[in-house]
């Protein structure tokens, strides 16, 4: 168990003492002969943005797929607020408060913003209208959606009844974020949220991430964009070949050192 030393190092950097909101211990996953994860740990504390970086094939995506219920790890355990959980599908993870925003947009283009925010969790009218006629409480959902969008500070989303396909890519991603946040989630995982976006639109999404941190919601941010990670993350977990090789902070290490660790040019144990 070579990881134990690293875990101590991670704990010493920040947030020590409190229970992680989300923790993984010794997660392993293999696809046939390919070993994607070799006993990976991860701790995410309240109110922090944890950057997750690594070269292609380092295991970042497999790790977050395990954390968000899209994959079932072969071994290891996941804890939410210290309690052990076992997700069998994304819905299970969502019920535990873990929401994921993917690079490919998880919104329905033809529906309006409010409908997208409440998709799969619609609210019905109180009384007989709701129970017998199954009538949706459209105005209440729109009011709640407007509130959620305002809280995120996405002021460019003015008309909540506008269909999502008329929005720009950044705005759509903002809807996906708002959607993930709207349901009292404990953890938000963002897998390359800006990869498909232009510079200005990326700025909108990253602004939303900052707002989330201010509100105390912890975020795991996966990105190939090093300046973005160094700007936003409180701590940065670096992965290589299915292992966590280091947890650094933007203050303790420069971007160049981070990339060197990522590619194996530098070894933190040294």
């Amino acid at each position: 168990m070579t990881q134990s030393g690293e875990r101590d190092a991670a704990a010493s950097t920040e947030g020590s003492g409190s229970t992680p909101v989300l923790a993984a211990q010794g997660l392993s996953k293999r696809y046939g002969p390919v070993v994607a994860l070799r006993g990976v740990d991860l701790e995410l504390y309240r109110g922090e943005v944890l950057g997750l970086i690594g070269d292609n094939g380092a295991g970042k995506s497999t790790l977050v797929r395990c954390l968000s219920g899209a994959e079932i790890p072969d071994s290891g355990e996941i804890r939410v607020d210290g309690r052990r959980v076992a997700f069998r599908n994304p819905l299970g993870a969502r019920r535990a408060g873990i929401e994921a925003v993917h690079q490919t947009l998880g919104v329905v283009p033809a529906l309006d913003i409010a409908s997208n925010l409440f998709l799969g969790r619609e609210r019905r009218r109180p009384g007989l209208l709701g129970t017998i006629l199954r009538m949706l409480d459209v105005s209440e959902m729109q009011r709640a959606a407007r509130r959620d969008v305002e809280r995120l500070g996405i002021e460019t989303l003015q008309d909540i009844t506008q269909s999502v396909e008329t929005l720009s890519g950044g705005q759509r991603q903002a809807v996906a974020v708002a959607r993930a946040v709207a349901f009292g989630s404990k953890v938000l995982i963002m897998d390359e949220p800006t990869a498909a976006l232009g510079v200005r639109e990326s700025g909108q999404v990253l602004g939303a991430v900052k707002k989330l941190r201010e509100s105390g919601l912890p975020v795991i941010l996966i990105s190939h964009n090093m300046p973005t990670v160094w700007e936003l993350a409180d701590r940065i977990q670096i992965m290589r070949l299915g292992r966590r090789i280091a947890v650094v902070t933007p203050r303790s290490h420069t971007m160049q050192e981070g990339v060197a660790l990522m590619t194996g040019a530098l070894n933190i144990a040294a």
């Binding site: 993917h102 998880g106 033809a110 619609e122 009538m135 460019t156």
Partner: protein, 363 residues
């Protein structure tokens, strides 16, 4: 008009007239950021899919009324509504299926088999009419369930599935009828109820027409005001995102095909009432006519966009063309010609609207 001016103001300001933008726009930032009507007509059509067909209907009525003033007589209108009832009913089911990005080529065949089953059970077997009706509706549901099961659970393309069941059900219908027509000796048979006439002055409207309108209202409500309806649009627009949102996509698709099957069964009931007997000599065009009505009515072939009331308007357009051209003394192939143009026009508009979703992000 207003929106056009605002949009123009916005684009000018983008070109560098900063102060003007502050003065003119009020909230110029919002206008640009929301991507609001740079192309107001396009946005209008996008938001109200039934608007374009409604305009076409009004123009068609005006033109044919001008050509022959008999069009808007009570008698003609009554007749048109009666002829509309069956196609209108079938097209409801077709609409819901097409909203999920599916298609049903077997509509007419299912309807024909269902009416043969209802008539055989009531007349030949001698079951009470209401039992025959219920079993017939049940068969409609089973037929829809077969289509839905193959499409949703096996994952076969709905086009191919329903092309197959079109053949199968057509054959079953011919087998059941053996080429004969089943007549109803007792005019008070429940199966003929949909043909009862309610008179309002000179207007003679059958109960089948009211039944059809009621079904439109019910399904319109389900689509617009229930979670099930939202999920129909969501699954049609993006099955992957729907799955991620926790919608059980397969059972939703199944529910859509089952509902459509029941609607085809009610269509069969209306058909029996309208002609007073049951036979397989019904226009085989019903399959394609229902698709025509849905497409003209503004529902996208690619799913996720459209309203059921638009389909009613689409079916009315087809009916007005049919009756109008006949009244104008024009040969019947012009009807097919006109319908063809309408379908192409409707699909072109849909294509144009779809460009909005891919275009505005970059604009």
């Amino acid at each position: 008009m207003n929106e056009t001016e605002e949009a123009r103001g916005g684009s000018e300001s983008a070109a560098g007239h900063g102060p003007e933008r502050q003065a003119a726009g009020g909230q110029p930032h919002d206008i640009r950021a929301v991507g609001a009507p740079k192309r107001p007509l396009l946005h209008f059509l996008h938001r109200y899919p039934a608007a374009a067909p409604a305009i076409v209907l009004i123009i068609a009525v005006a033109v044919f009324q001008f050509l022959n003033p008999r069009l808007l007589r009570a008698q003609t209108i009554s007749l048109m509504l009666q002829q509309l009832a069956v196609l209108g009913c079938l097209s409801i089911g077709q609409t819901v299926i097409m909203l999920t990005a599916g298609i049903d080529l077997s509509v007419g065949a299912v309807m024909i088999v269902t009416q043969m089953i209802m008539a055989e059970l009531s007349i030949t077997v001698g079951l009470p009419a209401w039992v025959a009706l219920v079993i017939g509706l049940g068969f409609g549901a089973v037929a829809g369930g077969i289509n839905g099961g193959l499409a949703a659970y096996i994952g076969l393309p709905p086009f191919i599935v329903t092309l197959g069941t079109l053949g199968v059900f057509t054959a079953i219908g011919l087998f059941l009828s053996a080429g004969t027509t089943i007549f109803f000796p007792n005019p008070s048979n429940l199966l003929l109820w949909t043909g009862n006439v309610v008179a309002f002055g000179n207007f003679h409207v059958t109960t089948g027409v009211f039944l059809m309108i009621l079904l439109y209202l019910i399904v319109a409500y389900m689509l617009a005001r229930t979670a099930w309806g939202r999920h129909v649009y969501a699954v049609g627009g993006s099955p992957e995102a729907s799955q991620l949102a926790g919608i059980r996509v397969r059972s939703l698709l199944m529910s859509v095909y089952l509902l459509s099957g029941v609607l085809y069964g009610i269509g069969a009931w209306i058909q029996i009432g309208r002609v007073g007997n049951a036979s397989t000599n019904i226009s085989a065009n019903l399959n394609l006519d229902s698709i025509t009505a849905v497409v003209i009515g503004g529902t996208s072939l690619f799913g996720g966009r459209g309203v059921v009331i638009g389909t009613l308007v689409g079916a009315m357009i087809v009916q007005v063309f049919e009756t109008g051209l006949a009244l104008a003394g024009v040969q019947s192939f012009y009807l097919q010609f006109a319908e063809g143009l309408l379908v192409i026009g409707a699909v072109a508009i849909d294509h144009w609207i779809r460009a909005l979703s891919t275009g505005s992000g970059r604009a």
